[in-house]
Amino acid sequence: MKRFVFHCLAVSSLTLATLAHAETRPEYGGTLRLTMHAVPSTLDPADSRVPDSFARRSLTSLIFDTLVVVDDAGRTKPGLAESWQAAKGNQRWQFRLRHGVRFHDGTPLTGEIVAASLRFANPGWSVRGDADSVTIDSEASQPELPVEVALPRNAIAKRDGQEKLSGTGPFRILDWQPGKKLTLAAEEDCWRGRPFLDGIEVEMGRSFHDQATALEVGRADLIEVAPEQSHHFSPAKGRLASSQPVELIVLVFARDSSSPDDKLLRSALGLSVERGSIQSVLLQGAGQAAGGLLPTWISGYGFVFSSQADLQKARQLRDQVQTARLWTLGYDGSDPLARVLVERIALNAKDARLSLVPTAVGLTDLRLLRIPLACADPWIALENVAAQTDLPRAQNKWSSAEELFSAEKAALATDRVIPLFHLPVFYAATSSLKNWTLRNNGSLELSNAWLGAAK
């Protein structure tokens, strides 16, 4: 009897160990079904007509590569460039290209192609390439240029005509229906190695609710989750992953303040917004109230800028102005979170005796914007926010943290912007999808993902 029991135990232990080992061993094969609510009209990473989004970043990273990669710790690592060096006080950067890399159409990666791609993405750059290197010259010192070339918009693409794009990423384009569906197939000869997944099918333009339903019923493997819904995500449905707060929600005025009264009213508006209740109720606890443009995890000092509402002071400021004209507050009508945010902001403003009328159409006095932060580099992130909100650019980029703080403070002092929240992005996946992560820039890392059961 004892022997029998011992044998059973041994067999079962061995079986369990085998199974456990099998579970952690990546498997090749399967097609990942990914859904997103964005509807990008182009896959070109450098097309500035299409706004930056986390979804676009995710797709770019699947198809294209950058010269340099920045890890979660903020360290630069080789990408298509094996090495790089600066000269002339960081005014010249030379990137030595990796050998043996080919585009999806079979064309070898050359400096000329890389230079052309970089010039396309940055018309103001002076870029030249030869067979195996690319040199970038600038008039000002660019100490963080490698970080900049690591941005998704600087991914290297071979452009043959308007619609024909070719990348060097782990997946190549099999079928592209702009704004609807994208089908990717694993690139067998990818310089990073063939991905585990055979392909990825991306469905676009799906609402968060539909995505959640798709995940629940097994029609999707990886979905986006709205920040305000993340609190309700049940672990039984799958694994939820979130990024650092990489999205800035901000009110941006269309013009500079026209008078001292206008400045007072703008300040009153900023003080009237109850970020705390909005964050806890409307955002369901996701994200953080923001007083500054950059979150603390990027700048290190974000907490310094106050995000507390002060209705009494707001009213006092308002009462100093004889006549407060009505403001129109614009928002993206397709974004349900934006709608409910502006409604609440309008109610808060009304409490401060300010008139704010939300509208989804036309030109408005101010707008609610959701700005994906470019990367973890604070200067690049601040530059990116300034570019999108028409704020003055920082003068001494990449200098000290104090300079950075001053620059941000100066930007806030223009009264053009009222930061509201920093939000992370959320994704959820079925338990069968393994080894997928989120980068610091909010994009998906799927090059090493694999599906637990073959599909």
Binding site: H232, S277, S280, V281, L282, Q284, G285, V340, L341, E343, R344, A346, L347, V357, P358, T359
Partner: protein
């Protein structure tokens, strides 16, 4: 106007008036029927709306009841702790419940009336519901309420239920929109539509009007045209009806019934106005069709009347015209006239009667002529016998006297023979005179017409008898002349006319044995020349007047009675007419009327002079 034209007018008028009367009557009946139907329809629609209203309200109440009874709400009522964490916890609850129970509005309020969760305005958590005061817990029936939304206001049916959990309570306020969908769900007839005006603001605003039909461009319906009706309801706070004309075409009119919709609370505010519109197109088009049909019928009737009258004239007026023509022939003396008889109707009977009448008249005339002829012969025989007897008797006496004298007084025979011879010769001359007069009457000549002045002949006659007028001595006759100096010449035989006038003058003289006044008058009368010979004699009785022109008739003790017959013969031969006017004791006037007849004068007619010596009796 001819009979045919009169017939046409009568037919046309009859048809037209008949059609017009029918059309007016039909229009009046149609209008009344339409108005009655419209009122009934409006009343039915109002009833239907109220039923639908109640039904919708009950439905809302049921749904709210179900929500209030749900576990989630009950749990919420138990768990609410009055802090801001409540809002986060239940932020999405109202939306989810509203979605599950198909409500447009749902708010969950805490015991103080603070919004814990709102489906229609999620961002309003933590704010007090402004209508909480009027939502008395005892309000069990559904009610109307104006719900403030972020960018608008909506009217809806609401119900409220209280959920108690120990000493805690929550209010569940749910509702459904009273919107275009509700209006579209009403089962309306084809020409009817329902609109809803949301009563907000001080003045009418077109944007507050809900029209499920949308903007029908044909015809354009500017909403401002409903403003007076809406304002009237706002002012008088009662149901009001009115007609709205959307264009100049009356078919585009609509009759609107405006019904006020009130909310709850002690002042029951006017929240909305239901406008039920009935198109008058069918009625106006029906009226037009009736009018067009009436015009068509009237026009057709007139054409029919023309055709009918043409046919009728062929059937009716032709015999009548023929009858009239035949009657005229008879009147002009041609008694031998008949009319063709067709059919058996009254006209045919009339024609037959006419034919029989003319035939009878002809027979009677012939009989009368014969009788008169016989009477005239008898009279002639009597007058002859009388006239001849007078001279024959002295003749006989004279001859008998001669015979007696020869036998008894031969010595005196010579003297008696001489005296008797004179008497015999005188009486034989008298006989010859009588025979000559008869012979002359039988041989009256035809007139030889020439252009004459009647006044000249009258004056000649007057001159002729002037001496005889004076010769009466104390019984003289005064002759007065009243001649129209502007008398036109006529065609006449001056000699015969002179003779006729002379006879009349002689008769007048005979009628005034003791003197008197003879008046000779000429004048123009109806295009003819009238010659009047008047005396102041003893006059004639009506019977004498009737027979005076008969030959051999005389009222005198002596005379042949041919004088007036000769006059009548002359007048008749001239195409004229003679008449007599007389009363006993008042004198007599003979009137001769002669036509102008100048066309009958031959081109080379010999002229006869009228002299005073041409006298005939």
């Amino acid at each position: 106007m001819s009979f045919r034209r009169k017939l046409l007018i009568v037919f046309a008028l009859t048809v037209f008036l008949s059609v017009a009367c029918v059309a007016i009557l039909v229009q009046w009946v149609t209008r009344n029927a339409f108005e009655k139907e419209e009122n009934q329809r409006a009343a039915a629609l109002v009833t239907q709306f109220q039923r639908e209203f109640t039904k919708r309200g009950d439905d809302v109440a049921r749904r709210v009841e179900a929500i209030a009874a749900s576990d989630s709400v009950m749990r919420m009522a138990q768990a609410l702790n009055g802090t801001s964490s409540d809002f986060a916890e239940y932020f999405d609850l109202a939306r989810a419940l509203a979605e599950n129970h198909q409500l447009d509005f749902l708010e969950i309020l805490d015991v103080r009336g603070t919004i814990v969760s709102s489906a229609q305005w999620p961002a309003k958590f933590g704010y007090p519901d402004p209508a909480f005061e009027s939502l008395a817990p005892s309000t069990q029936e559904p009610f109307l309420k104006l719900e403030d939304l972020q960018d608008s206001t909506a009217l809806g049916f609401f119900a409220v239920r209280v959920v108690r959990a120990g000493d805690r309570a929550v209010y569940v306020v749910g509702g459904r929109k009273l919107d275009k969908n509700f209006l579209s769900a009403l089962d309306l007839p084809a020409d009817t539509r329902a609109l809803l005006y949301q009563n907000r603001g001080d003045r009418f605003s077109p944007d507050l009007l809900l029209d499920p039909g949308g903007n029908d461009p044909n015809p354009p319906r500017p909403r401002e045209k409903l403003a007076p009706l809406v304002e009237a309801v706002r002012k008088y706070d009662q149901e009001i009806s009115g007609i709205v004309d959307w264009s100049s075409d009356r078919a585009d009119e609509e009759v609107f019934h405006a019904i006020p919709l009130r909310g709850v609370g002690k002042d029951r505010p006017l929240l909305g106005i239901l406008l039920i519109g009935n198109s008058r197109r069918s009625y106006v088009e029906l009226k037009r069709r009736i009018r067009d049909a009436a015009l068509l019928a009237g026009g057709g009737g007139i054409v029919l009347a023309i055709l009918l009258s043409s046919w009728a004239s062929a059937r009716v007026t032709r015999p009548v015209v023929e009858l009239a023509r035949a009657a005229q022939d008879v009147a002009s003396g041609n008694w031998n006239t008949s009319v063709e008889v067709e059919g058996h109707d009254e006209v045919a009977q009339l024609a037959d009667a006419f034919n029989r009448m003319t035939s009878e008249l002809l027979t009677q005339k012939e009989r009368l002529v014969q009788t008169e002829r016989v009477a005239a012969w008898r009279e002639l025989a009597r007058r002859l016998a009388h006239e001849l007897k007078n001279p024959l008797f002295p003749l006989q006496l004279t001859v008998e006297n001669l015979v007696r004298a020869k036998s008894q007084n031969p010595e005196m025979f010579e003297e008696i023979f001489r005296e008797s011879s004179e008497t015999l010769l005188a009486e034989i001359s008298n006989l010859k005179g009588i025979i000559n007069r008869f012979s002359e009457f039988s041989k009256m000549p035809q007139p030889h017409l020439q252009r004459v002045q009647v006044n000249e002949i009258v004056e000649a006659v007057s001159r002729l008898f002037q001496a005889q007028f004076q010769a009466r001595g104390s019984h003289a006759i005064v002759c007065r002349m009243q001649l129209d100096q502007h008398l036109k010449p006529i065609a006449a035989d001056p000699e015969l006319l002179h003779r006729a006038l002379s006879n009349l003058v002689l008769n007048a003289m005979d009628a005034m044995p003791n003197g008197g006044t003879l008046t000779l008058r000429t004048r123009e009368k109806d295009g003819k020349v009238a010659i009047e010979v008047s005396d102041t004699g003893s006059g004639l009785t009506p019977e004498e007047c009737a027979r005076i022109f008969t030959p051999y008739y005389t009222s005198k003790q002596h005379g042949t009675g041919l004088g007036l017959a000769i006059v009548q013969s002359v007048v008749s031969d001239h195409g004229g007419r003679i008449s007599v006017q007389s009363e006993p004791g008042k004198g007599t006037t003979f009137v001769i009327e002669l036509p102008s007849n100048l066309d009958a004068v031959p081109a080379t007619a010999p002229s006869k002079q009228v002299t005073a010596g041409n006298v005939s009796v």
